[in-house]
């Protein structure tokens, strides 16, 4: 039996009296492709924050590769080198596209030659070859999203978490994104994508995890590929 990439047990996070998420049991397998669906305020971003080791839940246990997380600063910093979250509205640092994409590898202390190769490859993957010297803040919205995706890919993550990646992007970028996701999943990267697009899960052949009011819920009928969330890992293993 393979060890789950993530195992969440009795995890709960609240904002004052408002429930963020309350998840009794959720397993995500290594190399799985998951779509996190649900209405606004259902806790998708909160859950992504926990999976990205940015937000410690108020209670419950999160295990990564079978190891329970203690949420110390050092541990989280090390885990974030294996897991990357791409925000819905990504922030591009001031400077060039290349310096943005190189941020992760530089933080990891990679060599200059290696960084140049990683930057070139990452930009190539998102269809922005030759954009290295462009000023990041002067790009269009769709290009900015793609640079942010390239920056995330440059980190060579084991897990890539994408928060509403296709919201408000042009069709070309959305199509490129979907084909890229499929190829990344084929490379063995665990992908968790939050979305409002009810059909994204079906298009990607992903396992759909449905959240409602912060809790795992039975998905509505219009989500054809949806499964009961606590069976997500089993479903993935059988596919």
């Amino acid at each position: 039996m393979s060890i789950a990439k993530y195992q969440l047990s009795s995890v709960q996070t609240s904002y004052g009296k408002t429930l963020g998420v309350a998840i009794d049991d959720l397993s995500l397998s290594s190399g799985g492709l998951y779509v996190l669906a649900g209405p606004n305020g259902s806790g998708k971003s909160t859950l992504l924050g926990i999976l990205a080791f940015l937000n410690k839940p108020d209670r419950g246990t999160v295990s990564f590769d079978g190891v329970p997380i203690t949420w110390t600063r050092k541990e989280c910093a090390l885990l974030r080198r294996r897991v990357t979250l791409l925000y819905q509205r990504p922030y591009l640092f001031s400077g060039s596209v290349a310096s943005n994409v190189a941020f992760g590898p530089v933080a990891r202390g990679d060599s200059k030659t290696m960084i140049q190769d990683i930057v070139r490859e990452s930009l190539e993957k998102v269809g922005l070859s030759g954009f290295e010297s462009r000023i990041a803040r002067k790009l269009s919205g769709g290009e900015s999203r793609r640079v942010a995706l390239a920056r995330a890919l440059a980190c060579k993550p084991e897990v890539l978490l994408l928060d509403e990646p296709v919201a408000n992007v042009d069709r070309a970028s959305a199509t490129l994104f979907e084909s890229l996701v499929v190829s990344l999943a084929a490379e063995g990267i665990t992908l968790v994508i939050s979305t409002h697009d009810d059909r994204l899960g079906a298009r990607l052949g992903a396992t759909v995890i449905y959240l409602e009011d912060g809790r795992l819920a039975s998905p509505p009928e219009q989500l054809p590929s949806a499964v009961l969330p606590h069976r997500a890992e089993e479903n993935h293993a059988n596919s």
């Binding site: 600063r73 640092f93 941020f103 000023i135």
Partner: protein, 231 residues
């Protein structure tokens, strides 16, 4: 009007003549101000970042104190430091009183809250996504903070400019802790105070004009440096 015009002519003449008293006052003013701003930046920038990002009890009170310290009269700071550096004071044996180093200590205390407050404002005005973005890309906490500082560098340079403005124009600390000793601790501001008290208004005004020119030049340099960081 002729009085002001005379002063201006005298200022130009003093600058061009390389008068040793004026040169010494300008050099002393600039050196103590720059050292003070350097030390105040080393203390004030991290302090401002810590107060801005930290979660601790009495944070509001700390901000209130910082704000109050910005308006602290220079003579009060001079008096406090004097009490420590005077012969009867706990640091009297170090013989720092009436030296440029004493002025630097006083002016560092003067500039630190200014720089800390401006830093705090710059950090609070920064995009809230900077730190989590850096962290999720695998940066350590220290690397994330450096990235944050890089993103708000204009605000940080503005903090340093404000700190410099505070110290280069003050007279209380320089007078009380430096003693206005000719060719040693006499700064432009203490020289102006002295000349004016002697009734030599024109000379005082001339020094004032030089002070404005020097302050303008330093600020111009810092502003150009600030602009060159824009990318």
């Amino acid at each position: 009007m002729s009085f002001i015009a005379d002063s201006f002519r005298m200022a130009v003449a003093l600058i061009l003549s390389g008068d040793s008293d004026v040169t010494s006052a300008v050099v002393t003013s600039l050196s103590v101000a720059l050292w003070s701003v350097l030390f105040a930046s080393v203390a004030g920038v991290p302090f401002g970042v810590a107060v801005s990002l930290g979660k601790f009890p009495m944070k509001g009170a700390v901000r209130l104190v910082l704000n109050s310290l910005m308006a602290m009269p220079t003579v009060v700071i001079g008096l406090l430091v004097y009490s420590f550096l005077s012969r009867q004071g706990p640091l009297g044996s170090m013989g720092l009183l009436f030296t440029p180093r004493a002025i630097i200590i006083g002016q560092t205390i003067l500039a630190t809250p200014v720089i800390a407050n401006y830093t705090l404002s710059a950090i609070q005005g920064a995009d809230k996504r900077i730190l989590p973005t850096a962290r999720t890309l695998g940066a350590s906490n220290v690397q994330s903070l450096f990235q944050l500082a890089r993103e708000v560098r204009f605000g940080l340079v503005a903090a340093i400019i404000a700190g410099f403005g505070r110290v280069v124009s003050e007279v209380g600390v320089a007078m009380m802790l430096g003693g206005n000793i000719r060719m040693y601790t006499r700064t432009m501001t203490t020289a102006i105070a002295l000349e004016t008290s002697k009734g030599d208004f024109a000379f005082g005004l001339a020094l004032g004009l030089i002070l404005i020119i020097v302050a303008l030049a330093v600020n111009l340099f810092l502003t150009v440096a600030q602009e060159s960081l824009r990318a």
